[in-house]
């Protein structure tokens, strides 16, 4: 099985350790990995702000870069949703590009989704010694994901799992939303942080880089020492304690 890694621009630049953790796990499952070097961003910042001409030009490149991929796996539900839902919309009026975007969409998976759907991983072969909570990132909704990641978190050896109140409520990131509606976005981030503090957990699992930046940034501003961790880093054995 050959997997093309789509690391996403945010993980590439801000949290490369997430991508590296994903590499460790996929290799453990005997998956052959390639990293198409031409990849940059999925185009979501332009798409979400309505600048579809720019989004189209970036998305069209993505179609080229991942043209021959068997599977495309990304540590982000948000960027995967962009490929699956956004690309076909961007190319609705171009038959050839639309067909190619549908093909890419059918081959693209979010990492946790891929573990479950393709590699049939049902429980975690890893441990975490500490109190852990979990935030459900919004774009999992768009991918039809429900409790896949939470089930894995619960199955970690040694973990004390504490559910987060309103775990499925948006943390307020929303890409450009965080810049365009800063008061609202910051308020939502703080609301999320307060719920996290209430759990008494030492770390929170968040599986999307944008949300990680938002939640960890809000925790940092308030001087709260709760760690924000992508599940891949626990599953890979890189992180075993807060």
């Amino acid at each position: 099985m050959r997997v093309s890694l789509f690391i996403t621009c945010l993980a590439d630049l801000f949290h490369p350790e997430i991508g590296l953790a994903m590499v460790t796990i996929l290799r453990k499952h005997g998956v052959e990995l390639v990293f198409p070097g031409g990849q940059t961003c999925c185009g979501q910042p332009a798409f979400n702000t309505g600048n579809w001409a720019e989004a189209r030009s970036v998305a069209a490149r993505m179609l080229d870069v991942f043209e021959s991929s068997e599977y495309v796996v990304s540590p982000s539900a948000s960027c995967t949703a962009m490929i699956r839902e956004g690309f076909p919309r961007l190319f609705a009026n171009d038959e050839a590009l639309h067909a190619r975007s549908e093909t890419l969409a059918s081959r693209s998976f979010e990492f946790i989704e891929f573990l479950g759907k393709v590699l049939h991983v049902k429980s975690a072969d890893a441990r975490f010694n500490g109190r852990l909570t979990y935030h459900y990132t919004c774009h999992q909704r768009a991918l039809g994901m429900t409790t896949e990641a939470e089930d894995l978190v619960k199955s970690l050896q040694g973990v004390t799992y504490i559910p987060l109140e309103g775990k499925e409520r948006c943390c307020g990131f929303g890409g450009a939303f965080s810049i365009k509606m800063p008061d609202l976005s910051g308020h939502m981030a703080n609301d999320k942080v307060e719920r996290i503090i209430e759990t008494g957990a030492e770390a929170v699992v968040v599986n999307d880089t944008g949300c990680i930046m938002n939640i960890s940034g809000a925790l940092k501003r308030r001087g709260v020492p709760v760690k924000v961790i992508h599940l891949a880093r626990i599953l890979s054995g890189e992180v075993t304690a807060p």
């Binding site: 979400n48 702000t49 600048n51 509606m181 910051g186 939502m188």
Partner: protein, 469 residues
Amino acid sequence: MNRETELTPRWDFGAATRQSLRNESLAKALFRATAKFDDGRRALMAALPESDLLREKARQIKDDVLQHLDRYLAQFADSVEKAGGIVHWAKTGDDANALVASIARERNVKRIVKAKTMVSEETHLNDALESEGFCVIETDLGEYILQVAGDRPSHIVVPAVHRTKEEIAELFNTSFGVSLPPEPAEITKFARARLREEFANADMGITGANFAAADTGTVIQVTNEGNGRLCATWPPVQVVFMGIEKIIPRLEDLPVFLKLLARSATGQPMTVYTNLITGPRREGEGDGARELHVILIDNGRTAVLGSEYRQSLRCIRCGACLNTCPVYRNVGGHTYGSVYPGPIGSVLSPLYEGRSRFSALPHASSLCGACYQACPMKINIPHMLTAMRAEQAERGDNHVLERLGMRLWALAMRSPLLYRFGGTALRWGMLPLSSEGWVSSLPYPFSGWTKRRDFPLPAKKSFRGSFKE
């Protein structure tokens, strides 16, 4: 589209947001109510094994109606007339208001009681009737409170959700010279007694319609307070004020919608009162209005029907998207500045009240998708919001800095070399602003981020620099 509102200044959603976020009593009232309804909805929908099938069925029925709206409307009008009712057609909100006024004038009506109808908010019916000298009384408790206060609804289903019981008791005490405690039961008892008199003295009742069956001409109206039934049956004349999208093909389709509506709206299995009204009172019947008028209102709906926003016409005004929306829950309905607040309002307001005036609303969402998941009619609100943003950008109605920034960004993202250079430059640019890997103050236009959060410094070595095949 109303030309007048197009010319009025743009709604400053950002400023309204800041003001609402400072209001702590609003936050308390909002959180309590929306959490109760949203949790109730989730619990009841989860307990209904066929809820997904029902939603799909409801979507199909409404899509069929919208596809053949002309035919169904004609059938509905025929059925109403066969049952003895009188049908009126209104192209605009002003036309609709004028029709009500002329019906009232011809019958020498003085006092009008009114059940909750959102379309009458849309057309500003009360203002129109009052300016012609009619006395109009809202009889839904929430609407009544707002009428006494000179306020307007902030929620589609629970219009006074932004007011606490303490505020309402104080409002009644000062307005009516009484001394009510801040107890919902006491407040309600007082309002009920006053409203009884209004029903008894009214010459005309105005109601909305939640649904209208084309095959029988039946108008269906649900309420929890029974005020709708009194408006429909006590005064001698009833006027049904309804948007043309409320049609369902057959009366037998009704259960599909009733099962979804109350569950989605307030987390109830059924509303307390469900009224099915087919024509006026007939010979030998003990109640019902002597005269029934149905006003079918377009007010921009046919334009939406022919657009990419058609699915918004499936909306049954349950408010589930408001209750579940993290934005609405934090800022409340008035922050949207329009008749319809929340996620669906962010679609409807630009469409019906002016794209330019409400150009900020399609951006009042983090696109989290909670609304789409909650919607019993499967309306893909995030899709419509992004489509509206695209429409704005296409006609140049976005910030010049954003346009420029996006062009530069796309240029960099099309070239891996420029992308890598950009990543390095970003790190070096941010390094002097940072301390221990975090930046606590970013320059404009990114300063919004660091108002309440820190921003991480890019990693020393990117993934592409670290990965080995």
